[in-house]
Amino acid sequence: MSTKSKTKNNKDEGKRDFLAVSTYAMAGIGAASFVWPLIDQMNPAADTLALASTEIDLSSLEEGQAITVKWRGKPVFVRHRTAEEIKNAQEASIHDMRDPEKDSDRVTNEKYIILVGVCTHLGCVPLGQKSGDVKGQYGGWFCPCHGSHYDHSGRIRKGPAPTNLAVPSYEFLSDTLIKIG
């Protein structure tokens, strides 16, 4: 075989590889663009996202009372704290806490503490919203599943939960109307 035809063969093989690789690439893109809608359909749908904010009127919530509202399918705790509870929350030493955070960083209006009512351990709803509930050693909330104690600011003080109760994003639309989400 002459050198000339050998070069030609190599050239053809190069072309063939290019065709093969580009075919596989296009097939891969095609498959991926078919698979993505099948995966993405499991993400929250438009109507689910549209329900992602909740408004709460606090005007009838007396001092010492708490209400639970549903937001994104989860309970949100709103407690109108007494002067003593606010004092306890603010004066507690944050140095020996598991998840140190100042009370002032967790509230907008110190009278109202607003928390996602889901224990950060494994997702149970802690007790402490109703007047007869066990509130735990620190007077805030107590999770009955595995015994996590939260204080008046919803901070974890004792038990297995790794972090404080989450504070949802919210804003005061007026003095007594808040919008969560």
Binding site: P37, L38, Q41, A46, D47
Partner: protein, 416 residues
């Protein structure tokens, strides 16, 4: 099965204990396939791909669907408007049903033209007809799920077919409905069956493939493979041919999904089911129209139902109705003409099924129905006594090597 064919040690280890790789190599790679297959042999693999597409999109749709008379219609509208890509998934599933029937009908007529149902492939054919029946049941029940007007009244009409059975008909219909009309119980059981039947189809498709691989594919000239000189390994020759056909199929399918997704549907099905009002003109989906025309052609309730089911039942026995030993129409000049008449007859029945049952349409329906049964029950058994078939080639390789199409090769030889 040679032992040294896999280089990868993990594959080798597994294959020694579970010969799945040998099996795939044997059935998908080396599998000897007649070398003269034309593009009509693509439609089997296309049907398989359509089935898989329907199952995947169907599972995904069921994650967003609510099988309850109060919520079904709204949940489908939610899929169309709110669920991420829901419109795309539903349109693929909806049009996928139509395209599945298109490829399956072409596949069946391919079998009729080339005599693929003849010995030793009778069971292969029967399993195929069984798949068609299961597909029809599945498609019918799937059409009920969106709970539109056509869903509801289609379900009512088709389930009422069983009331034609003497004595027990009414009880059977009540049993099918789980009540005294098509209602929530009916919708729930249809959803359940619509979910499970496709997996039954997969099972029958596997049997269909086992039966196919026993003797291999038929081919355009319909004579048996004589040896390796008549075959090619399935891979890469037919994998590439199938993939090219798949590309063409997907292009047309995608065009339908994206540009005219409701072309094959009926607008009345976007009106929520109302048990108090029947739409003025109800028609089934297009793929049922020929059978619907046969049903309406018979001026008797029980007779219509029997003829309609009979039109499918007759397909089960055609391997024994056709007495000719020559498979391919290429060597049966009269059979070939009648094949095209049958195809035209089925298209005509489809057209008549979509027309109102009055005047000339009824008369034409009766003529077309009569021809349909004449073709299978009288023509098939009697034609071999009248027809003079053309001489068969000695082997598949012979007409291929002569450099022209088999038919012309013979015309040439006969002239000499």
């Amino acid at each position: 099965m040679s032992k040294a064919k896999f280089k990868n040690p993990v594959v080798k280890w597994i294959d020694h204990r579970l010969p799945i790789f040998s099996f795939m190599d044997h059935e998908l790679n080396h599998y000897p396939t007649p070398k003269n297959l034309n593009y009509f042999w693509n439609f089997g693999s296309l049907a398989g791909i359509a089935l898989v597409t329907m199952i995947i999109t169907g599972i995904v749709l069921s994650m967003n669907y609510t099988a309850h008379v109060d919520y079904a219609f709204d949940s489908v509208e939610r899929i169309m408007r709110d669920v991420n890509h829901g419109w795309l998934i539903r349109y693929i599933h909806m049009n996928g049903a139509s395209f599945f029937f298109i490829v399956v009908y072409i596949h069946i007529f391919r079998g009729l033209y080339y005599g693929s149902y003849k010995a030793p492939r009778e069971l292969l054919w029967i399993l195929g007809v069984l798949i068609l029946l299961l597909m029809m049941a599945t498609a019918f029940m799937g059409y009920v799920l969106p709970w539109g007007q056509m869903s509801f009244w289609g379900a009512t009409v088709i389930t009422n077919l069983f009331s034609a059975i003497p004595l027990v008909g009414e009880s059977i219909v009540t049993w099918l409905w789980g009540g005294f009309s098509v209602d929530n119980s009916t919708l729930n059981r249809f959803f359940s069956l619509h979910f499970v039947l496709p997996f039954v189809i997969v099972g029958v498709v596997i049997l269909h493939l086992v039966a196919l691989h026993r003797f291999g594919s038929n081919n355009p000239i319909g004579i048996d493979v004589k040896g390796t000189q008549d075959t090619l390994p399935f891979n890469p020759y037919y994998t590439i041919k199938d993939l090219f056909g798949l590309g063409v199929f997907l292009t047309i399918f995608a065009a339908a999904v994206f540009f005219f997704p409701n072309f094959m549907g009926h607008p009345d099905n976007y009106i929520e089911a109302n048990p108090m009002v029947t739409p003025a003109h109800i028609v089934p989906e297009w793929y049922f129209l020929p059978f619907y025309a046969i049903l309406r052609a018979i001026p008797d309730k029980l007779g219509g139902v029997l003829f309609m089911f009979g039109s499918i039942a007759v397909l089960f026995v055609i391997p024994w109705l056709d007495r000719s030993s020559v498979r391919s129409s290429q060597f049966r000049p009269i059979f070939k003409i009648f094949f095209w008449i049958l195809l035209a007859d089925c298209v005509l029945l489809g057209y008549l099924g979509a027309m109102p049952a009055e005047g000339i349409y009824v008369i034409l329906s009766r003529i077309a129905t009569a021809y349909y049964f004449f073709h299978f029950l009288i023509l098939f058994p009697l034609l071999p006594y009248i027809e003079k078939t053309k001489p068969l080639p000695i082997s598949i390789s012979e007409p291929v090597l002569s450099g022209s199409s088999p038919a012309s090769a013979f015309a040439f030889r006969e002239k000499k």
